[in-house]
Amino acid sequence: MKLNIRYYAILREQAGKSAESLDSDATTPAALFEQLQARYPFTLNASQLKVAVNTEFRAWNTPLKDGDSVVFIPPVAGG
């Protein structure tokens, strides 16, 4: 299925892009992140990130559907 991924901050720099659409067999954000770790030199691991699906915080085992938008969220630093 097709997944739309957006990258922010340190993940954007390490992926070398802000967004991409991928054909993936990952059924959860956890599985998707594992696939992306093999592709990009991410220094953060999943335990340090949160995940959003379709612009809402979701659990790592949330089932993904075709066309979902996924964002992995590094530790925040507003303020």
Partner: protein, 156 residues
């Protein structure tokens, strides 16, 4: 009561303009917090900052925080504006304002909003240092900081 609001700005914040939106005939107290860009962090000399946000989710989460503060402390009005883009030393990075019947709830709601924004809203800060290096705060040394929610990057 007007709708509480969490917003982003790509231009410099003017606290006089911002406080006017919280004027309310039922309010006898106003409290604001401004986070300023500081020239040092954890022993490094900082020259400027860049803020980046996942805007769609950040606005939702920021609005939830403001709604929580209004409900929890019973204040009349509350707002928070966060900068994105490149900021220089001394610039206002974040502004929080609350107006309420009395001072106590204004102080408490203001504190609640800034603390929750720092912990929950998807905003990232990249520091640029005097020596030419740069780094994403809380991300480059995450092994040390990932689970320390009280780790201080306060501008206060």
């Amino acid at each position: 009561m007007s709708a509480p609001v969490f917003t982003f700005s790509t231009v410099a914040l003017d606290s006089n303009d911002l406080r006017r939106q919280l004027a309310d005939p039922a309010s006898g107290g106003f409290c604001a917090f401004e986070g300023w860009v500081r020239n040092n962090n954890e022993g490094h000399d900082v020259t400027r900052l860049e803020y980046e946000a996942f805007a769609e989710l950040a606005i939702k989460e920021g609005q939830r925080i403001i709604d929580e503060a209004v409900k929890k402390f019973g204040v009349n009005r509350a707002a928070c504006v966060h900068r994105v883009g490149s900021l220089n030393i001394g610039d206002i990075a974040v502004w929080v304002g609350v107006s309420s019947g009395h001072r106590d709830e204004a102080f408490k709601a203001c504190r609640y909003i800034i603390d929750e924004v720092k912990h929950r809203v998807p905003i990232w800060k990249k520091e640029h240092y005097v020596n030419g290096d740069s780094g994403w705060v809380n991300c480059e040394r995450c092994a040390e900081h990932a689970h320390d929610h009280h780790h201080g990057h306060s501008h206060a």
